[in-house]
């Protein structure tokens, strides 16, 4: 992140335009980002005809002192700065009684449609604001505003996830009411957003029944970071060979504490249970003091957050 503005330096600087769209600023690039293929190291992974696994590699050892260099101990969490921004957001939400929910899913799982139905159902019952994250366009924020809620759009540009600093800017721009619900719709991506704590009280992952039962095993980080999984588009189940129980088993294999609900934004099936879950969260006085999402990988105990 840039130390001046906290943005991602690869074109994810965030500024709030007059129309409420938070835009990335390409002029902020700090480098040319040319990729010299010769710089791609082939010594860290093994090639196998059947499986290309880039997650494995030999543990490296090092022998300091062999050069004239001077060793400096650092011991800092790579995501320490994001975690500091997340803690600041969490403090703000606690001070204002705001329930923040981070909504995650792959593209096309039905996040925005579910959100629009949720807003319609909660209209007049709960004050609500939305932060929309997408790489480009304000289509989603426009949909949310058309549904009657206040919304601010973050365009991440090249970025594949929201980070806590972007959300801090969005909250500053939105100024959500005290004791309100703030839903943060993350960039559609089942991989990257898992690592970035935004300061939310709850992380909700949406998996649609058109995606396949093995998604929790293939993308474990997201399912591990979540408190609740919504199985969406359940009205399509009669037309599919989707095994609900196997999906739930896979999800619980990754995260035994994961709560699950089956919903259909189209027919309204399961929506009352989802709305009750939100309203229970709003009533829960302990959430203000709740720690970072307990299972978030990057926030392991004992890690500096300098």
């Amino acid at each position: 992140m840039c130390t001046v503005c906290g943005c991602g330096e690869s074109g994810t600087a965030t500024t709030v335009a007059a129309d409420g769209v938070i835009q990335s600023d390409e002029r902020h690039r700090h480098d040319t980002h040319g990729h010299d293929h010769a710089a791609h190291h082939h010594d860290g992974h093994a090639h196998n005809d059947a499986l290309l696994d880039f997650g494995k590699g030999p543990a490296r050892t090092h022998a300091p002192g062999l050069t004239q260099g001077q060793m400096i101990r650092i011991e800092q969490d790579i995501l320490g700065k994001n975690n500091l921004y997340a803690a600041a957001n969490r403090g703000y939400f606690a001070a204002h009684g705001i329930l923040a929910i981070n909504l995650l899913s792959g593209p096309g799982a039905g996040k925005t449609t579910l959100l629009v139905r949720t807003i319609e159902a909660l209209q007049g019952r709960v004050p609500l604001a939305v932060v929309e994250g997408d790489q480009q366009t304000s289509i989603d924020a426009d949909r949310i505003r058309a549904g009657g809620a206040r919304a601010v759009q973050i365009n991440t540009g090249k970025g594949c996830h929201l980070d806590a600093h972007m959300v801090g800017h969005a909250v500053h721009s939105l100024q959500p009411e005290d004791s309100s619900l703030l839903i943060i719709e993350n960039v559609g991506n089942l991989v990257c957003p898992a690592a970035f704590d935004l300061g939310e009280a709850h992380t909700v992952v949406i998996l649609s029944v058109t995606e396949g039962e093995d998604k929790p095993l293939k993308y474990p980080d997201i399912f591990r970071a979540a408190d609740l999984m919504l199985l969406s588009k359940c009205d399509l189940l009669p037309h599919l060979d989707f095994d609900v129980q196997r999906t739930m088993d896979n999800a619980h294999r990754i995260n035994p504490r994961l709560q699950t609900l089956q919903v259909s934004a189209r027919t309204g099936e399961g929506m009352p249970a989802w709305l009750s879950w939100i309203e229970a969260g709003l009533r829960d006085p302990s959430r203000a003091a709740s720690p970072p999402t307990s299972t978030r990988l990057a926030a392991a105990p004992g890690i500096d957050s300098a």
């Binding site: 480098d31 040319g34 791609h40 860290g44 590699g57 490296r60 260099g69 400096i72 392991a300």
Partner: protein, 124 residues
């Protein structure tokens, strides 16, 4: 490609640490990356080379220390080596191993160029 963001953070941390020591060149960076963390080391190296250009970290060697995964079973409370988040407990066969090691992503230490003139302030 959240490795791009991670690489930016590494460069930012390293840049600040090197400058604090009065160095203008970083020779090597040791990262501790847990086997269960959500980072692909090769992608991180690739992104680092691009991000580090024009900074004190340009050309620095990246050394990755892989921290093996280890967890405690929620069912039988025994500890076990973990290679993936979906591992079943090898003792009781149940899911729900909770990692207590192997999720870290840390900048451990750096080696900086400390030519004599830069060390004068520490001299006699």
């Amino acid at each position: 490609m959240h490795e791009m963001s991670l690489a930016e953070n590494v460069v930012s941390i390293v840049d600040a640490a090197a400058k604090a020591e009065g160095s203008t060149r970083v020779i090597a960076i040791w990262l501790e990356i847990g086997a269960l963390s959500c980072v692909a080391p090769d992608a991180l190296r690739f992104c680092f080379d691009a991000i580090a250009r024009g900074t004190v970290a340009e050309g620095a060697r990246i050394e990755i220390i892989t921290v093996p995964g280890e967890g405690t079973c929620g069912s039988c409370a025994k500890s076990a080596i973990m290679t993936a988040l979906y591992d079943l407990c090898p003792h009781c066969g149940q899911p729900g191993l909770q990692p207590n090691r192997g999720t870290e992503m840390r900048v451990k230490e750096i080696e900086i160029d400390s030519r004599p003139f830069q060390n004068c302030r520490n001299g006699p």
